[in-house]
Amino acid sequence: MADAIAYVSPLFDTWIFAFVFIGVCWGIVGGALPGISPSITMALLLPFTYGMNPSYAVVMLASTYFGAEYGGSIPAILIRTPGTNAAAATVIDGYAMKQQGKAGEALGISLYSGIIGGVFGFLMLVLLTEPLSRIALSFRPTSYFALGILGLSVIGSLAGDNLVKGLIAAVLGLMIAAIGTDPVTGLNRFTFGSPDLLSGIPPILVLVGLYAMSELLQSASEPAWEKANAGEARIRFPGRSVWKRIWPAQSIGAVVGTIEGVTPGAGGTVAAFLAYNEARRWSRHKEAFGNGAPEGIAAPETANCAVSKTALIPMLSLGIPGSNSTAVLLGGFLIQNLIPGPMLFVQHADIVRDLYLGLAASVVALWIAAYIFMPPSIWLVNRPKSYLMAFIFALLVSGIFAVEGSLFHIGIALAFGVLGYAMRYFKFPFLPMVLGVVLGFMVESNFRRALVISGDDYMTFLQDPISAGLLGVAVVFILGSWIHHLTAARKSRKLAKAAS
């Protein structure tokens, strides 16, 4: 009974619901702006979470992720421009429906499919996360080192089409993590005599610089997007005949979203396209796909909204972010001195409980906010892009200064913006670098601590069964992605030869 009361008591903390609502609304608006991905929407919010109650901060960020995944479908349907990458699959049939005068119905299918995806993803999150984290109690420095290596081993699947570039980005991330005070001896490394660098470079500056600042630099040479017709943007609840058609597609989307959510590197975009493809394959109305099929909206929207919940499973239970958005969310946890991973459930069970409640509430919040925030989202999409970008710039520099009142931090974020721009130019992926930054300290400190404890016996990493198991999985991951990259390279060479 006491347990039940303890679990229900946060329900009366109305502030959690307020932050859920703020997060979802911010997510919808950010997701609706073409070019502003869920990770950028979340990164813009990060500086404001400093000094906040940890529960409110993580709940708001997770709700933003969910809201942004839905928000991306609004411009996809109305102006044929996906607000997020994952909404690209929604463009195909969403815009076709809009052209047939069914924009309201398309927006309704997108919303209710997103809600179903969110509910299913949330249930999977609750069911799968806790059992995964139960092994935590027996973790030692060797196991934490192995966990860090496992986290880094997923780089292969996050590296895009060039494994070497992914690995380079990861090593650069590890180098950034090495700046500051040495975890064992307390000596200063790469601080160049600057007291601002003694505590290292906060991950928040890396995230804001790489994702948001570099997007601003990139946008300076990109054209403005189309305008939306506000009159068409009224959500309509899908009729019974439509529900009959879309529920199989929604089921496919929910399953695909769950699988892709827990798979590192897959994310909402892969899930959306995979769900679209599967929905078409199993549909009785294959010919309607591409010409305004309701299933063509339902499947990808259910999938990407499910991913926004299930992607939290590896992040919460193992501390491994599998996508850009979960990497930013991980940054939000670190700001609050919360280390996602096995011990989170032991040391901060109250925050995990609040997060679960917040994520459950975010589904209801999305339902309400989608109706309320449709007109402001359309209004914002229709503002001149130049003003929007200028205000985002102002928000970024104000927010970064608010973190610690440091001009140096603004400079660091600008520098990472330049690095992010260069990485985009040279086609280096961001996520491996972020993984290096957030896992670098864990890998180094636990590696050296384990060696000190074992008297410099390297076999200690194989003698601990958890460590050995995690290292074994890491080896499988590395070999798997290496083989995948080799096969893909061979295939593309064959195609190029055939074309010439």
Binding site: V164, Y387, M389, F393, Y421, F426, E444, R448
Partner: protein, 162 residues
């Protein structure tokens, strides 16, 4: 020269400098066998090896895709790249200017100037609304950050006048 080749060369030079800097980290009496410079040195070596691999990859790819059409296309592409990089540099300059001006003229004025400059630079925004938008925008930010969230922002030289 391809982008990958240039990136590989730059990273190779950087890895050598980084390795030398890591090797120069002094050892402490409290040090373990790995030491404070141990991991950074291994990162430097790893980056060097990966940079060489990237250079090798780019040279192989270049040999495979050497056609006249590709060269012509890449000339046009590099012209566009230069234009994009210059535009991005302009945006960065606005950010750096804000950073320099912020402690001198204070938050509200430097932010108004940032909004004004960034909006104008992005696509030469409608001039009639540019100045009012920048002033109102900076005022709203000041209200939210300084008055509502109680976050102190630099006031510049203004307080010394009163």
């Amino acid at each position: 020269m391809s982008r990958d080749f240039i990136a590989g060369c730059v990273l190779l030079v950087f890895s050598a400098i980084y390795y030398l800097a890591a090797a120069a980290i002094p050892a402490s009496q409290l040090s373990d066998t790995v030491g404070p410079g141990g991991m950074p040195k291994s990162y430097g070596i790893a980056l060097g090896v990966l940079s060489i691999l990237l250079i090798g990859q780019s040279l192989l790819a270049r040999r495979r895709a050497m056609t006249a059409r590709a060269t012509a296309a890449s000339t046009e592409e590099s012209r566009q790249d230069r234009y994009r990089a210059l535009r991005a540099f302009g945006m960065l300059a606005i950010g750096v200017a804000y950073l320099v001006l912020l402690p001198l003229i204070g938050y509200v004025i430097s932010l108004a100037l940032l909004i004004l400059a960034a909006a104008w630079y992005q696509e030469g925004a409608r001039r009639r609304w540019l100045v009012p938008t920048a002033i109102v925008g900076a005022g709203v930010f000041w209200l939210v950050f300084v008055q509502i969230l109680q976050i102190d922002q630099p006031a510049g030289f203004w307080p010394s006048l009163f």
